[in-house]
């Protein structure tokens, strides 16, 4: 009989060859964990190559999940459990594992050849180098093949089910239900029921292996988290972002038009939206990044909610068209799922180094609104906000997600669709001025005095035919104008329009107001790690305030006032100090201290906690 022990939290990492199905295994474990009501956060980490040479270090793909009985903010700094499907996975991940942690290894892959391939002179399972860990050496592949010998599947297909054996075993170790995964497998292999049944049998065999062998003396339970009441689901950032775009179409009553070109890590948004035609969502996979944004802008001109999604290199290509959209003053949503650059950089790794490009990476004075989601589920809300601003102010809006948010998952308390904001627009239908002869005319650049937005008259509207273009337009009439004073006026007016975009105030989290002298200010995906670090400091009795910018342009109106309350502002960023630079420019006199790392990975909460403590200590 196994002993059952209660844990409050655990971090598990599944690691294997990129062909071993580790992302799927992680996804399924995540779904089971979510179903059980734990709070969770995940971190997929995979190579850029689809199938790097088998068994090599560059080919290692991993998936980390942190789950707990309390609310958590990060996928965990260090795994406590490592599932290693081959020597490469062990070697690549061992240094991250907590001392004393648990390792489950697939011994079938620990052949002399595979060991040599990754530079092991001796077998680490035998040379004592793992004695600080609890090692479970399990021949995962041969056990799977044995379990499936009665099935009508090839030996190769049977061997491929070893990830499900591993999932079954780990599900048993951590008391996760597997019914949903069985159902999932039946759906996934609908066309090949024998493969589905083989995978399910492997899953069950893994579970039973844990249950019946003496090797695992203890199994664990992590009780559900005490989350606020509501219906939850698990969601990744890219999925939430696509759903947010869909919801913006519903909320505005406009057809959504996505122009996109495949690029990592943004392609999943295109895939997801391509499934949502029932919402009137049109997706065009364009010939290139420029055509993608061009088609979206053309659709916007025609009265749709034009959207384009990409990553840094693609956004660079779209820059000229975004400037045209600034000049045409049409709504356009531009999503940049940032990845490590420059150039191809580390395409599957995360970074926040496109902030300055989002702010200024266009020709001429071409300000746009810039927003950044702070977590996977926040992508839904941020797209509704981006659409509100784009439609209300007739402007391009850039949304800066990143690889960490895009692929990471967390539980999401589902919003009611009756909470959808009203972001509908009124198209122009009537002339809004008179010409010199006193005849009614349509003035495409006659602005709303409050928002400075221009009227949106879509082609097809009788009597409002007009011509617009990239050449500078005369105020009100929109006619071509080379007049110096007019250009100065138009440049300043477009800037004033963006500066005047209504965004909510910054709400600093400072439970011991007056005690904290340091504010930690983040943006984007650092929200989770910063939150965990701040929590750690407060538990140690170190007072610290925090705030997070979801609106980067314009910044909340009270930003200056909030910053002025503290002696110094620490800004952790996965770049070399881009928000730091903007803050120093916008709020001179503020003592801004940057904490910057660009490793392609999110900050760990421990390193941030140490860094913040250091700053506070040194005053």
């Amino acid at each position: 009989m196994n002993t059952v022990r209660q844990l409050d939290r655990v971090v598990i990492r599944f690691a294997g060859d990129s062909g071993d199905g580790m992302q799927l295994t992680g996804d399924r474990f995540t779904a089971e964990t979510a179903k059980l009501g734990n709070d969770l956060s995940t971190l997929p980490n995979y190579p850029a190559e689809i199938r790097a040479p088998a068994g090599t270090l560059p080919g290692v793909s991993s998936f980390q999940i942190h789950f707990a009985d309390t609310d958590i903010l990060t996928p965990g700094d260090q795994p406590e459990v490592l599932i290693a499907m081959n020597p490469a996975a062990l070697k690549a991940n061992l240094r991250d594992l907590k001392s004393g942690g648990t390792i489950v290894v697939n011994t079938d892959e620990f052949t002399k050849r595979n060991l040599t391939k990754v530079g092991y002179d001796a077998n680490p399972l035998e040379d004592g180098s793992l004695e600080d860990y609890q090692v479970h050496a399990v021949p995962l592949a041969s056990l799977t093949i044995e379990a499936l010998k009665e099935f009508d599947v090839s030996k190769k297909d049977a061997e491929r089910s070893k990830n499900m054996f591993a999932l079954g075993l780990v599900s048993w170790m951590y008391s996760r239900p597997t019914e949903a995964t069985e159902e999932f497998l039946r759906g996934k292999f609908k066309a090949k029921p024998q493969i589905a049944e083989a995978n399910i049998a492997a899953l069950k065999a893994g579970w039973n292996y844990g249950d019946t062998t003496e090797a695992f003396a203890v199994r664990f339970e992590i009780p559900p988290a005490r989350l606020s009441a509501g219906t939850y689901r698990n969601i990744t950032g890219n999925q939430a972002l696509a759903w947010g775009i869909t919801a913006a179409g519903v909320a505005s009553g406009l057809p959504v038009f996505l122009g996109a070109y495949p690029i990592t890590p943004a392609s999943d948004i295109l895939h997801e939206l391509s499934k949502h035609k029932r919402f009137g969502v049109t997706t065009v996979q364009a010939e290139d990044e420029i055509a993608a944004v061009g088609a979206a802008l053309g659709a916007s001109w025609g009265g749709a909610l034009g959207v384009t999604t990409s990553s840094g290199p693609g956004i660079a290509l779209k820059s000229e068209t975004i400037s045209l959209a600034v000049s045409l003053e049409l709504p356009l949503l531009v999503v940049d799922v940032q990845r490590a650059g420059p150039s191809t950089g580390l395409p599957t790794k995360t970074e926040q180094a496109d902030l300055v490009m989002a702010m200024f990476g266009r020709h001429g004075e071409a300000p746009i609104a810039v927003l950044a989601p702070q977590s996977p589920s926040d992508c839904y809300d941020i797209m509704l906000e981006a659409a509100r601003i784009a439609l209300h102010y007739r402007t391009p809006v850039m949304v800066l997600s990143d690889g960490y948010i895009a692929n990471g998952a967390e539980p999401w308390r589902l919003p009611g669709t009756d909470e959808l904001p009203d972001i509908g627009v009124e198209f122009a239908t009537e002339p809004n001025g008179v010409d010199k002869a006193g005849e009614p005319v349509f003035l495409p650049y006659q602005r709303d005095p409050e928002t400075l937005a221009r009227p949106w008259a879509v082609p097809g509207t009788p009597g409002l035919q007009h011509r617009i273009g990239g050449i500078e337009k005369a105020d009100k009439t929109g006619d071509i104008s080379y007049d110096p004073e007019n250009h100065d006026f138009m440049v300043r007016t477009r800037a004033a329009k963006i500066a005047g975009v209504d965004v909510p105030d910054l709400e600093p989290d400072d439970p011991h107001a007056g005690e904290a002298t340091t504010l930690v200010l983040g943006w984007g995906s650092t929200w989770g790690p910063i939150g965990a670090a701040v929590r750690g400091l407060r538990e140690k009795g170190v007072p610290i305030a925090r705030a997070h910018l979801r609106y980067l342009n314009p910044m909340p109106k009270n930003t200056a006032e909030v910053l002025a309350r503290y002696d110094r502002v620490v800004v952790p960023e996965m770049n070399l100090g881009q928000l730091t630079m903007l803050l120093r420019n916008n709020f001179p006199g503020t003592d801004v201290v940057g904490y910057n790392k660009v490793r392609g990975l999110p900050f760990t909460s421990n390193e941030l906690q140490d860094a913040l403590e250091e700053v506070i200590k040194n005053g």
Binding site: T231, V284, E287, T321, T417, G460, Q465, G470
Partner: protein, 339 residues
């Protein structure tokens, strides 16, 4: 738009003139094209607001400003991409692209070929003057080898595109050529383009009096034009002057009529499915313009991209309560409830 029906005109040419002062150089071929288009547009039988002209950058791309329709003067080379977005989302509009040899074939080459292969409902008018006009006279992708310009003082060493061959290689379903100075022919070609369902590619030879004057003179001069221009007429044997077109090897060849048996003269058919025939026609003339066919080279039916995209959306979206569908989407898959 999917279903343009040429109707008895209700509007007049003057109804399509905008209030903007036309600012091309005196003598520019664009004036003739503008006048021809303005007097043709009433034939579409559409209200002005149902017509959209989109252009890129270059002299020709100022065109939309001078038409009393909806107009968008966009970015260098990008008009076909922007127009694709409009055409896909607005089936009720007649969408026209105005472009030039630099705009369409150099900086925007990629968008042109992809619009054509997709067969998007766009009417693409390419004003080919074989020179960069707006930037003051550099050689273009249709300039001949050896062209002397500011950027090629010793003569261009570039090889030019044959725009029609390119369009045919891009799987275009409608390909035609006409001349700025021949209003009747230009309008006849525009009419055929407008009636075509899908992408229509029309090359218009256009004179630039400032930087490349007389480039098409051989097709205009009464002394040379009859032996240079081949007027393609559907269903008619191809003859011009005292010459005819016959098959030769894998292509076509011009021969003296006297040397050829009447039965061997090629009869023009624009709806021949194999694009090799239209391609061979497009190769009859080169930079030198001897034996230049004008008219409709190819006109075949193929499903259009925009209609295909829309039918999928319509099929999926018909009768869907979007709010309810969103509620279902959010709650799809694994969910759990915390009390």
């Amino acid at each position: 738009m999917a279903d343009v029906k040429l109707d008895a005109p209700k509007l007049k040419a003057k109804d399509f003139k905008s209030s903007q002062e036309v600012r091309w150089c005196p003598g520019c071929g664009d004036y003739a094209i503008l006048a021809a288009v303005q007097s043709f547009l009433p034939e579409l039988g559409l209200e002005r607001e149902k017509i959209a002209f989109i252009s890129g950058i270059g002299c020709s791309s100022r065109f939309p400003y001078y038409l009393n329709t909806y107009g968008l003067h966009s970015i260098h080379g990008r008009a076909p991409a922007i127009a694709t977005g409009l055409a896909v989302s607005r089936p009720d509009l007649s969408v026209w692209v105005v472009t030039g040899d630099g705009d369409a074939l150099s900086i925007g080459g990629n968008h042109l070929i992809h619009a054509l292969r997709r067969n998007v409902n766009l009417k693409i008018l390419l004003f080919n003057n074989r020179i960069y006009g707006l930037t003051k006279g550099q050689y273009s992708p249709t300039s001949g080898p050896g062209t002397l310009t500011k950027s090629s003082p010793m003569g261009s060493v570039d090889s030019p595109f044959n725009p029609l061959s390119l369009a045919l290689g891009s799987e275009a379903t409608f390909v035609a050529r006409t001349l700025d100075s021949d209003r009747a022919h230009l309008q006849e070609v525009l009419r055929a383009a407008a009636e075509h369902e899908g992408s229509a590619f029309v090359e218009i030879y256009q004179n630039c009096p400032i930087f490349n004057d007389g480039a098409f003179e051989v097709l205009k001069n009464p002394e040379t034009r009859d032996e240079s221009i081949i007027r393609l007429q559907d269903g008619e044997p191809i003859r011009f002057g005292d010459k005819v077109v016959v098959q030769s090897g894998y292509g076509l060849q011009v021969k003296d009529a006297s040397e050829v048996d009447e039965a061997d003269v090629v009869v023009h058919k624009a709806d021949v499915d194999d694009p090799a025939y239209a391609f061979a026609l497009s190769r009859l003339s080169g930079i030198a313009l001897d034996h230049t066919p004008i008219g409709v080279f190819r006109n075949v039916k193929r499903p259009t991209y925009d209609a295909g995209v829309r039918s999928q959306v319509d099929e999926a979206a018909t009768g869907v309560d979007r709010k309810e569908a969103l509620e279902r989407l959010l709650h799809s898959g694994d969910t759990w409830t915390v009390l």
